[in-house]
């Protein structure tokens, strides 16, 4: 019975079936990147947030994970950690959490290291196998600084995470240049129809489809694609406006009226859908195809100015597209057309007009890429599909400038650098979570200056036993960090604003110390969700990651992202 049907069907593979719901988000290339990664978790404290993060990475099929954790499973672990059981009491937490996580997905490899982090990091090349590192607080600052320095040198993404009581925080240290091509912009923002800068084939298409428009039969008139309608009425407008297109809001609305009045209303529906679509598109689509400044800035970044043998392919393609932009004043046509009221053949023809233009633009960019490659003596050519994907999304590429996060050292003032002014300003906004971030820095400074046994062993966290005494100490540290920030920013906020910020900072500190370094499972799970999502974005180089610090307030159920 299937003889008249085309191609025998290959159903999805077992893996495609299992990962179906996520492949619809990051596709096969994203999945491959995930499977090629090896993530290290340096775990400490109650250790929940790190494991909840890993859970959300093992499930979608990360290649390999390793847990470093020297703790021994205690009774308290069992009430907060889902990846331990009663029989593991007294065993190594790294080993047992690793085993129970591995159960979640047989395609994932898991390893563990139960030696203390101090000696683990002392091995030469200890961090070499990993493509991404997660560190949870508390950790001694000199160790965190060591991992941070490694991440900096090896260009490996590093995450630093706090989950304490009802609050959490994480910072991401990305390489200094972290470009993303596949940002997945929302479909509404991607339509680029070039109505104000049509090319000859598009103009010709519009003229053909609107020929003798006024005399068309009702059904034909109601099926002219709105893009053709708009281009046609733009010609009429230009003829009566010295060859100029409608530019400002007022002109666009009168142009819209002109289109609206051209619709036929003497029918059962009292209007025409294609004209409705044309009217709705006027304000949205009649804009010069100008890339936004953040994209134009990328063309001016130093890495893309001169292409050498070692330049990343992103910069080679950026340079080539920069040349295209300089020559034509526009980016390559992305080539997609939204659905619209039209007959099948007319629509497909229109789609092809856009697609051929996109192919032509792509060919030109590709040619430049090849010239650049030859001139720089590059041996492996960049794959065509990468250049094509770049051309398609050129208007939405993104560059994140990664930088190290704060590692609070015992006797050093926290420095904010070029961020001081902006953070100091944000500090006093109502509802700002900058004070909560400062409270976490104060938590870290307390850890840096307190040992459990006074011998430089396991760090001591505030509030474990002395709630009031520690609250006072951490508040003092927090106020000092705040004052140093204001000093560095040379900022003198209004007294009332400063008082409010300090009161809020004091409350955040109290609430943090209240938890005594303990994790609430809910907040750890939520933060593990956020961190794993960011890990996936960073590994797949898709979507847009947090730049660079995220704070969650579980009292008010609010989050904030700041760049520090």
């Amino acid at each position: 019975m299937a003889t008249d049907l085309p191609h025998p069907v290959q159903g999805p593979t077992a893996k495609e079936k299992k990962y179906d719901r996520q492949l619809r988000l990051w596709g096969a290339t994203g999945q491959m990147a995930l499977e090629d990664s090896h993530i290290l978790l340096i775990n400490s404290g109650p250790g929940v947030v790190g494991l909840e993060t890993l859970k959300n990475l093992v499930l979608p099929g990360v290649g390999h994970f390793t847990i470093q954790d020297s703790s021994v499973v205690s009774e308290a672990d069992l009430g907060v950690n889902f990846f331990l059981e009663d029989e593991h009491l007294g065993g190594f937490r790294a080993e047992h959490t690793c085993n129970l996580l591995k159960e979640l997905n047989p395609d994932v490899q898991g390893s563990f290291v139960s030696e203390p982090v101090e000696t683990f990091l002392a091995h030469a090349d200890a961090l070499y196998p990993y493509t991404l590192i997660l560190v949870t607080a508390p950790i001694r600052p000199e160790l965190l600084a060591k991992v941070s320095a490694y991440a900096d040198a090896a260009l490996i993404p590093l995450f630093y995470i706090h989950s304490v009581g009802f609050y959490s925080h994480f910072s991401i240290h990305l390489p200094p240049a972290f470009p993303i091509v596949d940002t997945h912009p929302s479909p509404e923002t991607t339509t680029d129809l070039r109505l104000l800068k049509p090319w000859p084939e598009l103009v010709q298409y519009a003229a053909e489809k609107t020929k003798a428009l006024d005399n068309m039969a009702a059904d034909d008139h109601g099926h002219v694609p709105y893009i053709a309608l708009l281009l046609q009425y733009l010609e009429e407008w230009k003829a009566s406006h010295d060859g100029e297109v409608p530019k400002n809001y007022k002109e666009k609305t009168s142009f819209r009226d002109l289109v609206s009045k051209a619709a036929r209303t003497n029918n059962a529906e009292g209007g025409e859908e294609n004209f409705d679509e044309a009217v709705a598109a006027v304000l949205k689509s009649l804009n010069p195809p100008e890339p936004n400044t953040s994209v134009k800035d990328i063309f001016r970044e130093k890495e893309g100015l001169t292409i050498s043998k070692g330049s990343a392919s992103f910069w080679v393609i950026t340079h080539a597209i920069g040349l295209f932009y300089t020559k034509h004043g526009v980016l390559p046509v992305p080539g997609s057309v939204p659905d619209m009221k039209a007959r099948s053949a007319d629509y497909i023809e229109l789609q092809n007009v856009y697609k051929s233009k996109a192919r032509k633009d792509f060919a030109e960019v590709l040619e430049s890429v090849r010239v650049l490659e030859r001139n720089a003596n590059r041996s492996t050519p960049i794959e065509e599909k990468d250049v094509e994907a770049f051309c398609k999304n050129a208007a939405h590429i993104k560059l994140v400038r990664g930088r190290p996060f704060h590692v609070v050292q015992a006797s050093e003032t926290v420095k904010w650098g070029d961020r001081a002014k902006s953070i100091a300003q944000e500090l006093t906004f109502p509802d700002s979570l900058v004070p909560l971030y400062i409270a976490f820095l104060a938590f870290d400074e307390f850890v840096a200056t307190h040992d459990k046994d006074g011998l430089g062993g396991a760090p001591k966290v505030p509030g474990e036993s002395d709630l009031e005494g520690d609250s006072e100490k951490v508040t003092g540290i927090a106020y000092k960090i705040l004052n140093d920030l204001l000093k560095e920013a040379a900022s003198t906020p209004d007294d009332d604003d400063l008082d409010t910020a300090k009161t809020r900072l004091g409350e955040f500190v109290q609430e943090i110390v209240r938890a005594g370094g303990g994790e609430l499972h809910n907040i750890a799970a939520l933060t593990g969700g956020l961190v794993s999502q960011e890990v996936i974005k960073v590994i797949t180089e898709q979507y847009i990651p947090v730049d660079n610090t995220c704070i969650f307030d579980g009292v008010k159920s609010k989050s904030a992202v700041i760049r520090v």
Binding site: D20, Q22, D77, G79, S344, Y543, G554, S557
Partner: protein
């Protein structure tokens, strides 16, 4: 007094709840001055019976989170069985569990992992249960993918509120996700805005007109919908379409592909066919973790009063989450709607703009897609008479001729109509306002 503690030996005692108890034993800067820390709160969390609706992506997370928040008596309802495509996020299930009931496997797993928690599964529909059943819970946490089920439980809980009996007010905490987006909201029935008040925030996707599918397809999805709605009906109407049968999906895929080739439309794939036919929504572990944990965080705060919670008078009640571009949350107070057909006391009719030239049938079909209605099997009566009834058969027979009449022949401008739908235990009042 501590009945819940009986099973655990004293030396085990509450040692495993060290971190949780630290919070329960200490007041914080935002706890109410009247709040008594310690034993009463530990009791409150241990003794509160909680219902979880849904044991899927959100449900698995919710069960784990509640068990590790100190809840001891949890019930879970889900009618579904485990599919292989659940395994990328529903972490209580293994390959060997495929085909078994979700509620049962999930309950057993969490009971085994977290000692001292009792989880009672029910493998069936929420509609199987009555008010008496729902009355036993302290609160209800929903992790559902169906708007209809949410509206049903919402209406049921609103209907249960008896002002003489404070125990009849059951907080409803609802989570939902789609890809990198989601929301967590807290509803105190009759006190805060309810699911029905918020209905227009979850507008259904517009369906493609049938004539487009039949005569002028342009997109690969149009070809798939054609195969799904028209071709199957024409060629295989004796076989009930089963979305989970690979042979059926393959048949639809091949039909769609052939039609796409006739019209030169590129892009039909097997995966897209599956997506369109089953209305697949992308789902990932991370978003589920975030939304479920936010719901359980609110549940824990409500029961323990360890901190202010969403839905408290004067507080926000809704957290919107977006994670595809950085991390963004918007937490706000959604206002109760005075014309809410479910929770407004005045029972005001909600105004509905209509084209008076539509036939009653067109109007009723359109109700499924209107964000403020979303009713799929409506029966309708005006102030004067029954206009159309889906049930019983003789009344349907009697009212069927009205379907082809225009609205302006049946009702006057501004007239109130009452609409019922078998999916909901209430009637919706609308005021039909004619478009000029």
């Amino acid at each position: 007094m501590a009945a819940a503690d009986v099973q655990t030996s004293p030396e085990q005692g509450r040692a495993r709840w060290k971190y949780l108890d630290t919070i329960l034993n200490r007041p914080g800067p935002f706890t109410d001055p009247e709040w008594v820390p310690g034993e009463p709160q530990i009791e409150s969390v241990s003794r509160s019976k909680v219902l979880v609706i849904g044991a899927g992506g959100l449900g698995c997370e919710i069960l784990k989170n509640l068990a590790l928040s100190g809840f001891k008596d949890i019930h879970v309802i889900d009618m579904d069985t485990i599919d292989v495509s659940n395994l990328n996020r529903q972490f209580l299930f293994r390959h060997a569990d495929v085909g078994k009931y979700k509620a049962e496997v999930a309950a057993k797993f969490v009971e085994k992992r977290v000692k001292g928690v009792k989880i009672t599964p029910y493998c069936g529909k929420i509609q199987d249960k009555d008010e008496e059943y729902y009355m036993q819970f302290a609160l209800i946490v929903c992790g559902l993918d169906s708007i209809e089920a949410r509206r049903w439980i919402n209406a049921t809980l609103v209907g249960m509120v008896d002002n003489e009996n404070p125990d009849s007010l059951k907080p409803l905490i609802d989570g939902g996700t789609e890809g990198f987006k989601g929301q967590a909201r807290v509803i105190f029935p009759t006190m805060t805005s309810c699911i029905e008040c918020q209905l227009d925030m979850h507008a259904p996707r517009a369906a493609v007109p049938l004539c487009t599918l039949a005569t002028i397809p342009r997109q690969p999805q149009h070809c798939i919908e054609w195969a799904h709605i028209i071709a199957w009906e024409e060629e295989r109407k004796d076989i009930t379409l089963d979305n989970d049968d690979p042979e059926h999906i393959t048949w639809l895929f091949q039909k769609a592909l052939k039609r796409a080739q006739e019209f030169n439309i590129p892009g039909v794939t097997y995966s897209m066919t599956q997506g369109v036919v089953k209305n697949i929504i992308p789902a990932i572990a991370s978003t589920n973790a975030i939304v479920a944990a936010s719901c359980c965080n609110e549940a824990f705060k409500i029961v323990s009063n360890t901190n202010p919670f969403l839905g408290y008078p004067g507080m926000d009640n809704y957290m919107m989450y977006t994670g595809d571009e950085s991390v963004y949350t918007y937490t706000f107070g959604h206002q109760k709607k005075p014309d809410c057909p479910v929770c407004s006391e005045e029972q005001l009719a909600r105004p509905l703009q209509v084209n008076p030239n539509l036939t009653l049938e067109e109007f009723l079909t359109g109700l499924a897609e209107r964000p403020e209605a979303q009713l799929k099997k409506p029966s309708i009566r005006s102030e004067e008479k029954s206009l159309y009834y889906q049930f019983p058969p003789d009344l349907q027979e009697q009212t069927r001729p009205n379907l082809s009449k225009k609205l302006n022949e049946l009702v006057s401008d501004g007239e109130e109509v009452a609409i019922t739908d078998p999916a909901f235990p209430l009637q919706f009042k609308y005021k039909l306002v004619f478009q000029k």
